[in-house]
Amino acid sequence: MSSDISNSGHKPDGGSAPQSAPPLSKPKFWNDPKKRSLLFQILLLTALGFVFYTIIENTLTNLEQRGMTTGFDFLSREAGFGIAMSLIDYTEASSYGMTFIVGLLNTILIAVMGIIAATILGFILGVARLSDNWLIAKFSALYIEVFRNIPLLLQIFFWYYAVLRTLPAPRQSIEFLGSFLNNRGLIVPAPVPEDGFGLVIMGFFGAIVASWFIARWSRKRQELTGQQFPVILTSIGLIVGVPLLLFLFSGLPLGLDHPELKGFNFKGGITVIPELMALWLALSIYTAAFIAETVRAGILAVSHGQTEAATALGMSKAKTLRLIVIPQAMRVVIPPLTSQYLNLTKNSSLATAIGYPDLVNVFAGTTLNQTGQAIEVIAMTMAVYLTLSLLTSFFMNWYNARIQLTER
């Protein structure tokens, strides 16, 4: 039936006008939207091409005049400077290429830590702001208004200079659970696996597999008998409990490298530098305020009728929130949430201000100063942020597309 219509219908190009109609006068080409649009696109492309050509040409000429070399050879040269924190082995004898890797890993570390903390905190605060409990709602509102409206850089300074830097010196460290907190950071005992620790690891993975089977079994049982099983709680119990029991019964096969005060500083253990702590606190707390507002907007966007329908069906408030409201709110929350993740990742470059050795500080800072390879260094740094951001967007868009509503 539909093919009938399209066969007998009008052709869009107007070339096959009915014979009886008078010949149409051709419009002037600047009055034809298609031709006009084509013309503008050609003009724009030409202009862009000219601009880029000029920039590149200009740069090459300038570099040549100053006798500077271009290229990425500098990456294999020895860097000759130390970095305060590195996730991989790095010494002053390492190459500039390594400084790039160290900076990149440090940036990814703070971004991932920040995103996880900000998401958890943000969701809790967003739901809390809509709570019926007056105190909780007001507290959440106060938090959001305070942290959202103070510049991020100032908050980083606050945590770094006002909180962490004012901690006592190593000799007067605050001591708790074998860890030490002082103005050089948080020093915690480092775990050193001994014989038999493999069993604990195996127990851990075994528990994960078991949880998967329990989830399956529970779904089957629900289908047959209607009884529900606390899958999430049991899984958490298994994944924590099994390795813990194995650990206890195999005679605690984990040594601890306890930090010890030697001279003016601590030896051994793992040191979380105050720059990382300050940056992490500031980024998470600041971004959580925005995420909370996003979550609140998402929940408010779900019509009240949805809650009423669920309530009328006898569902409790918690179940309504979990099964009806949040899944629908997520559709509204995801796009702005993605923006917040991107913001956090890019804001992590403020690390430079307090000396956390992220990519901008180490690579676009020290390495750039020492090598003078501005174009290559800045291009690589920008490429990193662009790639990280695009990867995040890509993942979030994929997730968003998966949960979109089906309509017609």
Partner: protein, 252 residues
Amino acid sequence: MNHSHATDKLMVELRDLNKWYGEFHVLKNINLEVKQGEKIVICGPSGSGKSTMIRCINHLEEHQKGDIIVNDIPLNEDIKNIEAIRKDVGMVFQHFNLFPHLTVLENCVLAPIWVKKMPRKEAEAQAMELLERVKIPDQALKYPGQLSGGQQQRVAIARSLCMNPDVMLFDEPTSALDPEMIKEVLDVMIELANEGMTMLCVTHEMGFAKTVADRVIFMDGGQIVEENEPHEFFNNPQHERTQLFLSQILQH
């Protein structure tokens, strides 16, 4: 035409019900008894409190004075009582309020599974049976957004019935529908009435009231103004306000 299913058991009882929205007195001393199997149609001008009244019955609205007793359970502060009443009382809304992120079938099995702890297989079988009854079993795997208004409202009725309610509340179920879809929804409601369901319907479908209702209630200004069996109500309204209302809606 009418063959009443009413028994002697009281399903819903409202005693001296009063409700205020701030200063505004929405419901004034409402007294109403609905027997099991009885069908009540409630009409009246907008703002007369008819929706508010039936929304009080499953505690979507809180009342400030008076008693509500549903199926022998008093509606009070006790959350257990409120939950028990909600399990017994089904509700159909003007705007359907289907869950758009779930398929028709999921809409129907959600509450039985999570509230009644019914096995999924059983819940699905029951849902399919009810979707059959509202004549849309073939739409079970579609999403609400893919259905017409009339189909959505029929799904909403099936979803309520999945909880096996003893009482059904209808809050203007056909007011948001295109004229040609009203009939398919009313047909389902008439069938339900013929099976003996206790029903309270806020509606202006006077044809439906004449066919199905045991009693018609007219509300104005938060009060029950007149209450009678349909024949008398339409042919011999006692109050001036009722006469005016009926003359206005039956004119065309």
